[in-house]
Subunit: 315 residues, 4 copies
């Protein structure tokens, strides 16, 4: 945990004691889950690795463990893609994607079929493909725009795609290809499927650290205001993104996450989770071992402990 100690300066921040206690508890856990196995570069990760960062609305950030270690952001990028689409497109994005929990595993085709190619929400894969498709239409470079947003909000210009990860996902991308073709059959994606998948897998391949992602999500705790003081989203839109995160952000375990953690959150199969305490701070935790629903075991546990120890929760 050396790299975090200096900058987190124990004793100086309001959550220092809590974060260190959580890191100790997570290190003592027996059960860390198992890394995602379908992407070779992720499969080898040590599930005991752990990092956690808290970013204050003023842009300060501190953390414990490997909080400055870049990891594969994966589905966490869906939050930023949605925010960009909302900021550029307003309500229009909701024509092609709903905002209801899916009640089904994250890759399910069933609901998509019963609802005529309109995915239930932007955080299941099908819905994220719709958002990327729209963002590609609006900007010409969906993945690049997401990377740029992360770089600017975190102040870290080194945040980037990892081509090997994108290639690995493409090589195992049959389910996403099926989803995209299926929606194309309903006219709900407009770009050629191979191009759309390329953009989508690039976006998913972005590597960033807990510090980077906690800072980048700051606009969701600041009611839509970016790090530079300009507005990315309206207050109402920021509330809406948080609402969708709370009800749909953790695959088929959104209810469980709300019940245990009580915060808007979004997980990725790289083992990261971001969570928002509106008006207060943003959190990002990382540990590569996943539960059967695809959420980081230690990540969920750490956030559960954080809200329990601090009393910070939206409920």
């Amino acid at each position: 945990m050396a790299d975090g100690d200096a900058s987190s300066r124990p004793g100086e921040h309001r959550f220092s004691a809590v974060l260190h206690r959580i890191a100790e508890e997570m290190a003592a856990r027996d059960d860390h889950g198992a890394p995602a196995d379908y992407i070779p570069m992720l499969a080898g990760a040590d599930p005991r690795r752990f990092g956690m960062a808290v970013a204050e609305p003023d842009g300060t950030v501190y953390g414990v463990g490997e909080w400055r270690q870049p990891f594969s952001a994966q589905s966490i990028t869906k939050v930023f893609a949605l925010a960009l689409a909302l900021s550029l497109d307003g309500e229009r994005i909701w024509r092609g994607v709903g905002r209801e929990p899916s009640g089904n595993p994250f890759n399910s085709l069933v609901q998509l079929e019963y609802e005529n190619g309109i995915p239930r929400n932007p955080f299941i894969n099908a819905g994220a493909l719709v958002v990327t498709d729209r963002l590609q239409e609006l900007t010409g470079d969906a993945a690049g725009q997401v990377r740029e947003l992360l770089r600017r909000e975190s102040g870290n210009p080194d945040i980037d795609f990892v081509p090997e990860v994108a290639a690995s996902e493409a090589a195992h991308g049959d389910r996403n290809a099926a989803l995209a073709h299926f929606m194309a059959a309903y006219g709900n994606v407009t770009h050629p499927v191979p191009d759309l998948l390329t953009a989508y897998f690039r976006q998913c391949s972005i590597e960033a650290s807990c510090a980077d992602l906690a800072l980048s999500a700051g606009f969701l705790a600041r009611h839509g205001v970016r790090a530079d003081g300009s507005a990315l989203l309206t207050r109402s839109q920021a509330k809406q993104v948080n609402a969708v995160m709370l009800t749909c952000g953790t695959y088929d375990a959104a209810g469980e996450f709300a019940y245990r953690v009580g915060l808007p959150g979004k997980s990725g199969v790289g083992g990261g989770i971001i969570a928002i305490v509106p008006g207060e701070c943003t959190l990002c935790v990382w540990s590569p071992g996943l539960d059967r629903r695809g959420n980081s075991v230690a990540g969920v546990a750490a956030l559960d402990r954080f809200t329990t120890l601090t009393g910070l929760s939206v409920f």
Copy 2:
């Protein structure tokens, strides 16, 4: 709106202006939806009727419109039944019912079949039957216990069942009977189905006003503490009930409700909705016209306006 005017004393409460503005806006609406048509006593209601109450944690309550008019609480009682089951039974209640959004209309049998008779959450009918079954086991009189809780928290001893409504629901109760028998086939309800349905329909038939229900739900804004200062739920349990309300409280529109209103809420087909601002206050709104998903049209709109005008939302 006469009956609310005196006791709401415009100008004296922090939300008076907001409530009056909302009442005016709702009166001016063209679209009020249509009352539930399967219960004759509800079907005749005028969809333009409207009442709204806010209860402060200290037990004061004020409102606008027909905020003291009793109406059929219906599914709103599910919150109180769940709270009682949790207080008496702790985590055990979750053996028979999940806490994930259903992603399906509220009467759906499909998910129940795929998940071996365990309903997704306690606020769909199947899940509420499990809670009532368990509460019946624990207390011998599930419906009576719910009535008693409402009477005590609201201070209104006149809150009661409406036998004609219960009888009407029983006469149209084939779907609920199907759900109960189906779960019985999996061993997930233990009382004879006719007895269970009798208890369930009695509970649903309770009539109470916006004032009554806003006061009764106060323990969810007070982190589990009852009106008399004793604990009904632990702080953690109160948070959990709020989380389940936010993710599952408005049938197949939970995501939409979270997106628009941003508060834990629970609706009933009588046209009522309760909503919680944790630590701040509880709200109850009533208007009998429903949308196609079974939620009060003016009720949702009024809560949407409330959070927009006050900035109070959990996000």
Copy 3:
């Protein structure tokens, strides 16, 4: 196999050698499946028991093994109920039940929900309930009419209900009760559910032997003509019943049964199966051990051997 030997008179009938060979092969099998476990009176059956009968259109019948041993006809009675409903009601019966394969296990509620309470065919439980409901309406005693048809066609006045079996099914009847209530919610059954279930379970509890059932089904090989020469069904109706048996007669294994056996057939969880060679003969086989789809293991195997050895199949 003593009881069959005398009357089957080896050498005298065209299928004697085939039947004896099949009986020997079945006796030598290792795998006999397991009896249905949800009805105590059936659960205790020895899965090695075996009987098989062939009835000629002229009313002669012969067999091997326990071909005169009464067993629980169960779902085989659905064929006779359907034939009676068709004969009394003509095409009208198809208003409430389809004639497409279900593509789902035999108790499934899913398809019923997606198709508004109209079961896919009369041989799944939901569809049989619709037929019984209609036959009850037409005759006042559905189960009695089915018993009477079996008695007359087989010439055996001892064929009867077994009240203990009917009671046992009622005691484990929650799935059927769920189906009936669900269809009642759509208005697709008209009798009070408890009354309907009583009639249905009585009908299922009928005991008859392979000889009885092969003779009773003779009208389906004689293009609708009863044993006494009168018409129960038109030629076209008899063809239709055979078609529904072929496509829907063996639960979720109708395709497999058509593929292996190539005859219209109907199985029951008592271990019996009837099969029709139109214009040629009718067969009934019994062995209590079932496969996972609810069809008699030795029963299907024996019919498979029969059509392979004789070349008799509809294809």
Copy 4:
């Protein structure tokens, strides 16, 4: 109907009178359905066009109407692909595809998901893709082998692909692409999806006439024997293909087709249907107007009349 008159020589063949009567009845129909609209080259067809041919086991063929007019065979080719796969691969083909009716519309992804990427039968699109994938593996040219089989059995060397039709299907092929990718995710197709789709759409684009297809299917009436007297299938395999046609050959209307027509049959969206009277003859009928389930309206009606008038049916 001129072109059929000469060779059909009224009075000389056993079914001449029947065929002419049917052609007249079909010409007098008001309702002809509508051509498939998703393939431009098919969409323009006149739904009143009609042709019908009967082929005797000895290779003679006669017909009425436009029985020598080539049309797009489409899904009818699935029967020939299955026969080739069975003849080359035996039972192995059933590892990747079932033989149960689907109980769902022909493009449904739902069942595929619940059954781990194994399609229910070889006549729904997903199942046909598995067969083509396997045939491609076995022969290197699945579509070419199907064309060759049709040419040889019909004696018509002009039977060929129609590249414009194949291209049109590829341009609207998103659903089939989704199916193929989805099965690829389960490892149930092995060729690259674009290659597989190319082979599949070529196969579907084959044009042949009623005469060609009735003759080509002759081996199914001759218990597996080809026109040249050699065996394509064993007797048992021919029976099996007929069984799968009867239970699964007409999309979601297989039960209805068995009920009305009572013959193994396979339809295509080009408006053609082949039907088998085992041991007797084969039929092919063509009329481009389809019902909502994708079967030719006049085609089904003509076959219904044929079996009613001749008494030929398997039941």
